[in-house]
């Protein structure tokens, strides 16, 4: 999907110390992926708990907005861990990423997900009226974006 002009940058990543170190260590990739998956569980778990709550799913001990506020630091923290663990994995097999359609889609969706979290999610869910249509729109967007990020990640070795 990415143009050939991008190839040298990906090749460069693969030749860095980081790329070769991950490739040359047998257990490095599954170990890093474990942290990646645990962080993904925190992110996706929070996204689903918070945003399905906007649609009335789950116990109502605390307001949806409060849940969203409570979970946000965990979400942002897990995004940090996801990026920090994702970089060495991508550097270890950059050509696979370059040739995959899923990889650029995933990167675009991550930017979109972070942007939506810091804008509409904060404005319409955390600080807004969660019964309003705008909150529901932000909630459905958040669920869709982050679920697709996970699916696109799984898709990198395949398409």
């Amino acid at each position: 999907m990415l143009g050939e002009s991008f190839r040298p940058y990906f090749e460069w990543c693969g030749n860095t110390w980081l790329g070769t170190a991950v490739r040359d260590t047998v257990w490095a990739f599954p170990l890093i992926e474990t942290f990646h998956l645990l962080a993904l569980a925190i992110l996706l778990g929070s996204v689903l708990i918070v945003n399905l709550r906007v649609f009335g799913v789950g116990k109502k001990y605390v307001p949806a907005a409060q849940m969203a506020r409570q979970m946000e630091p965990w979400m942002l923290g897990s995004i940090g861990v996801l990026i920090a663990s994702g970089i060495p994995m991508a550097f270890s097999e950059p050509i696979k990423c370059f040739e995959s359609i899923s990889f650029p889609i995933k990167m675009g969706l991550i930017l979109l997900g972070i942007a939506s979290q810091l804008t509409i999610q904060r404005k319409w869910v955390i600080a807004g009226d969660t019964t309003a249509l705008k909150a529901k729109l932000a909630a459905i967007l958040s669920i869709a974006i982050w679920t697709l990020v996970g699916a696109a990640g799984k898709g990198i070795p395949y398409v």
Partner: protein
Amino acid sequence: MSVLSVCEWIQNLPWASGVKHSAWQFPVIESIHSLALSVMLWPAAILDLRLLGLVMRRRPVSQVAAQFLPWTWTGFTVMILSGLILFASEAVKCYNSPFFRTKVILLGVAGVNALIFHNTVFRGVDSWDTDSATPWRARLAGASSLLVWIGVVAMGRALAYA
């Protein structure tokens, strides 16, 4: 009949070998497995962290459990079902893998840990429901659960590359 021959039989069932030989079925089911893991793991971890007094300290433990355990059970059900399909498609590889065997043992430990917690110290939750520092047996259950589930995820990943 040995366990290995049962695994061979499972793997050769038409639907199981269908998953193995399809270009997309395995990764799609694996994605569902990971999504279910998120629904299961984070809510369970929130309760564990509450037992350790690290999050939601001012909320009663029983309320945190009532709010988050339904998510855990929903995710767990989907995770087991999707996991069984993934297992069936490569049952012999799993049988031979020390990582898979460890994963199954850890799942057993997680189950026993939860059973002990719910049938002992959690029975008397009324007397410590609002404490930010819970009884040591509750903290032990929370810490064990966190560690065991991290181990389960690690074994799952190791299995995929071995």
